[in-house]
């Protein structure tokens, strides 16, 4: 092979999304919010549980979106952060007896630190190399959780059973509904904070790095700091999602946090539209409901049906739900003109 150094203009892995286009308009947001608030009053507990999971995975997809869509770094290791968050909450609740709500910020902070540290070596890696590094993290995590040394805390291969919280202050609602509204409030809080983060100075720095790292550093952006910061923020949010997930599912075990989860979250991001934060919830719906649809079509071939459906989606809308939203917006615009 030639020893000459290869010079390439590397096309950014993620297309530029103008920051305005990263969110929904005020009107649409309110409609979605109203739907999310009212819906649980009319459905069975089981559906409420599914909606809670929808929000939780939505948060995890959002976190990946900040990392990939925001700062252009690719991660297949989100399941590891999710697992750390879940175990943090579960251990604090079951061994320390801490209130579930208090465990979440701790899960978030621990994961932020973990992500920030992991971002340090990841700094020198990009593209497939970063993919491999994060992938390694995802495969290592279940094995770490199983280690005998931590078994007293983690429950080893058997996992930990978590108690589901009741509604506080004697509120007249079931556990599922309470947990749903609790999750909804946290989700909205994190969503709003994320939108503001991406609009802030830091957000502009993320996007400058995403679009062209060298140019960004030439313009005085501290590339190393912001890249690791993006990892930390993303891991922190994923950790909160993991903690919520542990409370909703009432169980943590290494088998729940394999590489499959990381891949699902990745698919959720692609389907929702990379870099488009509201798409996270669409992506989350995809990874929860499409497997159910696939298996109702064929048990023996559920994997294949899922694959075909995924192909259909990416053929029709290669840019995910964002593309649908843009088209819809244009059509609405035309209607208004007439």
């Amino acid at each position: 092979m030639s020893a000459a150094e290869e010079v390439v203009t590397e096309a950014p892995a993620v297309e530029a999304v103008p920051k305005r286009a990263m969110t929904l308009g005020v009107g649409t947001s309110l409609v979605v919010l109203a739907a999310l608030v009212i819906a649980p009053l009319f459905v069975k507990n089981f559906i409420i549980f599914q909606m809670t999971m929808l929000l939780i995975y939505g948060l995890a997809v959002l976190a990946l979106n900040i990392l990939t869509g925001g700062s252009g770094q690719f991660s297949l290791g989100q399941s590891a952060f999710y697992a750390v968050g879940a175990y943090t909450s579960a251990i604090l609740m079951e061994h320390v007896g801490m209130n579930y709500a208090l465990t979440l910020p701790i899960a978030g902070i621990i994961c932020f630190g973990f992500g920030f540290l992991f971002g340090q070596p990841a700094l020198r890696l990009s593209g497939v190399y970063l993919a491999l590094a994060t992938f390694a993290l995802a495969t290592a995590m279940p094995q770490l959780l199983k280690l005998g040394y931590f078994e007293h805390w983690t429950g080893g291969v058997q996992g930990l059973v978590v108690t589901k919280p009741d509604a506080p202050f004697g509120l007249p609602m079931g556990q599922d509904m309470w947990l749903y509204y609790f999750t909804l409030v946290i989700t909205i809080g994190i969503y709003v904070a994320s939108v503001n983060l991406l609009r802030s100075r830091s957000g502009r720095a993320f996007m400058a790095i995403r679009d062209n790292e060298i140019a960004a550093s030439a313009m005085g952006v501290d590339v190393a700091l912001y890249k690791t910061l993006a990892f930390g923020v993303s891991a922190g949010i994923t950790g909160v999602a993991g903690g919520l997930g542990a409370i909703a599912v009432q169980f943590v075990a290494p088998d729940g946090y394999t590489i499959t989860l990381a891949i699902s979250l990745f698919l959720g991001m692609v389907v929702g539209g990379v870099g488009w934060l509201p798409g996270s919830i669409v992506g989350s719906a995809f990874i929860i409901f499409v497997p159910n649809i696939a298996e109702s079509i064929s048990k023996g071939l559920s994997g294949a049906v899922f694959g075909v459906l995924l192909f259909l989606v990416i053929f029709l809308v290669p840019h995910g739900a964002r593309q649908v939203a843009i088209v819809a917006q244009q059509m609405l615009g035309k209607l208004k003109k007439h």
């Binding site: 020198r124 190399y129 290669p318």
Partner: protein, 292 residues
Amino acid sequence: MELFTNQVLAGIATGAIYACMALAVVMIYQAIDHLNFAQGEMAMFSTFMSWQMMQWGVPYWGAFILTLALSFAGGIIIERLLFKPLAKAPVLTNVAGFIALYAIVNSVAGLIWDFTIKQYPTPFGSSPFLGSQLISTHQAGMIGITLLMLILLFVFFRFTRVGLAMRAAASLPESARLVGINTSWMIALGWGMAAAIGSVAGMMIAPVVFLEPNMMLGVLIYGFAAAVLGGLTSPFGAVMGGFLVGIFENLVGTYIPGVGNELKLPIALALIITVLVVKPAGLFGRPIVKRV
């Protein structure tokens, strides 16, 4: 000391598996500039096809050649049908496509051939090789085949017009088009060749790990790691990477007290990442300089 030698030899034997797969990984990387997550499953499917032919009475080498040809054609068809339409879509959407392909191939193979393991024949026999019980004649044969493929690939990329054109098309598509290379067909050709190499890997690996739909799951992780360690641009590096990972992993498992055995994959991966941090293009890859 004997244990050390034995583990190194056993590492070379398993390393041959990784090397075989890593070659296929490098092949596809040369053609399309990213990794194909469905590669292992495609190889598994090819191996099942050859197994089926042998069940129908086709002799080993007949099935081998036929499978090679069918896999080559299959790879091209998959590219034309499923990935050509995505050529203009974002890279991450393509990755999602690989995952979809993975799910489809795995599930279809499971339905046709179910999940019980199947014995797969070897043309080389499985008696001890050169008196060493640690490497069987099959594993020696597999190393031989891997080296043969390596030489063929080297010649192909270095000395044939098509090979050079393919490299050009993958690394600088615009410029390649300007000098008259049909980049779109180069990609299809790359898929075909990667599928064919993968099928050889599958047919060599199956006698060791037994044939079943999930057989490539672990192999692919190690194959990726090997290819990345060796350098994704270098077939030679990929093969060396394969052997190194094999040896590496065994020594970690044997000599790191306490957690070594339970965590040998994570530790091996961590070491690879450390190598990458120091040498981002892999041990044998060409360094890449970015332009603003």
